[in-house]
Symmetry: C2
Subunit: 424 residues, 2 copies
Amino acid sequence: MKSALAFLVAARRCEIRDLEQLALSCDLVQAVNELVHLLQRERGTSNLYLASVDARFDAQRAQHVAATQAAEAGVCALLDGLAPDAGATPGGGARLFTRIAMVLHALNGLPDLRAQVAARQCRAAEAMQRYTRIVSALLALVFEAADIAVDPAVSRLLVSMFNLMQGKEFAGLERAAGAGAFAAGRVGADGAQALSDLIEAQEQCFRRFEEFGTDDSLRQWHALQAVMPLTELERLRRRLMSSLSGGGLDSALADTWFDRCSQRLDLIHQAEVHLAQGLKDECARRIAATRVELGDQEGLLATLSATATDLPDVPGTGSDASGKAVGAVAAEPLGPRLTRSIVDTLQAQSRRLQQVSDELAAVRAALDERKFVERAKGLLMAHHGVGEDEAYRLLRQTAMNQGRRLVDVARALLDMSDLLPPKA
Amino acid sequence: MKSALAFLVAARRCEIRDLEQLALSCDLVQAVNELVHLLQRERGTSNLYLASVDARFDAQRAQHVAATQAAEAGVCALLDGLAPDAGATPGGGARLFTRIAMVLHALNGLPDLRAQVAARQCRAAEAMQRYTRIVSALLALVFEAADIAVDPAVSRLLVSMFNLMQGKEFAGLERAAGAGAFAAGRVGADGAQALSDLIEAQEQCFRRFEEFGTDDSLRQWHALQAVMPLTELERLRRRLMSSLSGGGLDSALADTWFDRCSQRLDLIHQAEVHLAQGLKDECARRIAATRVELGDQEGLLATLSATATDLPDVPGTGSDASGKAVGAVAAEPLGPRLTRSIVDTLQAQSRRLQQVSDELAAVRAALDERKFVERAKGLLMAHHGVGEDEAYRLLRQTAMNQGRRLVDVARALLDMSDLLPPKA
């Protein structure tokens, strides 16, 4: 029969195992972040390639594709080490594995997409959409990693990371939308609305990134802001918007717009790289700290074994049915100091685990908004037979008409889902 | 490189592993339930033994102690198979192990308690309190098992089970309080308040038990109600209460009260035994259903392997950097039907896991009330240096004075905890 302390030690070992699994998820997030950055770059270059006959984009696209493929290989190598039969299981098994399956399925479409782009058999808008779906699958994996993380400090950093990556993706979409408008010489009403939605969405994501980031990541972020071409970007944004009222756009600015946006994306990526390293460091720190605590408990266990080797640790044995044999000796067989120390350790551990669970719940609440919106979109797509963009537009329009927040409309829709007509 | 479907299969395997770990927790809950029932019986007999010089209780107590020890051995045998080094880890590792450690620590006090009772070196009230603390540690383990369960159906049954056990414990405490009052010939104002609190708390627990129980467990529960001595119990309760206004109690009724209460406890235990079996059946059913689904996915994976053995499943390989080599073949290398089937499976699994997560959150919310009250009690105990009963009384009194629910007062206290004076 194991003693109480043996189970306390076992609990610590479970925590270390959970943290090690979390560290695997963080490694994956780091590799996924690199892949997303390169896919965004490849998407941008593919767009330029499809939109022009300028030969310089041929070589650049091939070079960017090769870089993305190297990052894919990095992600795949990590995934090969992850599945249960490989011994290392990331935390939140089923949910993370399902997201990984969706990522792999999305990545499977890449060779075909690239071939069509290379042969100019695919329009720029369609290529854009297909690349964006792959990026979305990768972002959803990062989101899931944040949602299933078991350590509040790491979970906060993952929420921060997800928002930074999502904000950067909105910035990438803004680059494409703006480049299209400059090239066309004007922006339509829908295009202007889409641009201002993308700007608002970026800002919201970066606020969340800051809210959940560390002091260190914020310091670096503010330093990066100082070197970002923000003034020029705002001036170009203003030109885009004012073209709606008939101003007309100088299509020669398309390159300038694309370059400034790309420069900004690269700088945001520096923040991502920094944060990814911060994540790994935090995991390592938490594992090391838990190991020290495990060592303390093992020390206590050793003291206890040495003090009480000849005392029974099976409750009930050592006393007959009437319990007469034990008497005063058993009252505090380990001495009051050691008994006190065990009781304190037990209570502290129990309180700490409850606190961890509360803190995790608080951090995860920050992810609820996206969850509700994503699920409401899925519901509309299923019931109205519309695409993702149209579903989002429907939600957004309803929110604006009713003067309510997007997330509230999404929740109301989900609450009412039983009343919706059966799937078309 | 593993394919998307291989990760879907891995996700299912994770689910099966999680369910098997949950089944271990349910086995433990079943054994703990038996132990709690016998501890409650031993507590009652010990009370009778300490309160009288009637020799018939000597033998009965020894017999009950022996039965409890057998149940303890059953729990300990299960625990021996649980720790991580034994290969089988229950779900929610760290939290369950910590509760187990607290249970073992509490059980360690039993031999001493029994020895003191046997030697009549312990007053009835103190013995009662010490037995009750052990039962509380065991109930907290069942609560934790419910809170960390990963399957909504099983989680519902565990919440039902916890409430049935907690309600029965309140009924056991009522038996003791009532027996004391009958023996004393009167009930004081505090005693009457405690009795009516215990009755109210039982009813609340049994409502929760019904709310989360299955049709089957409710049918059996209603059948058991019909044979419970409820009318007589209510009559005796009325006598207890009316003695407050000076009626006086017939101390000869103490035995009748104790017997009727014990009869009811035994019948409630029948419902527990039934529910514990229902829990194990539900686990087995869920594991079997998930295995069938795993089989389906493995079938799909086999079809895919047979169809696509000569096709690359590594995204990116098979096409050179410019992606020119692949072309139309890669568009749907598995044929549209199979590709569709994989996409459907992926989306269905993702939706289902999200739904599981939502349902679990909804079931767990039913446990929040107790969590808040327990933690508020802990806070008061630490800051006011009072015992558990006194902490509860303070909370309860505040709730009554302010006309608010207990749980709301508990939450308000926890929210304000940063403003409390430092620990005395």
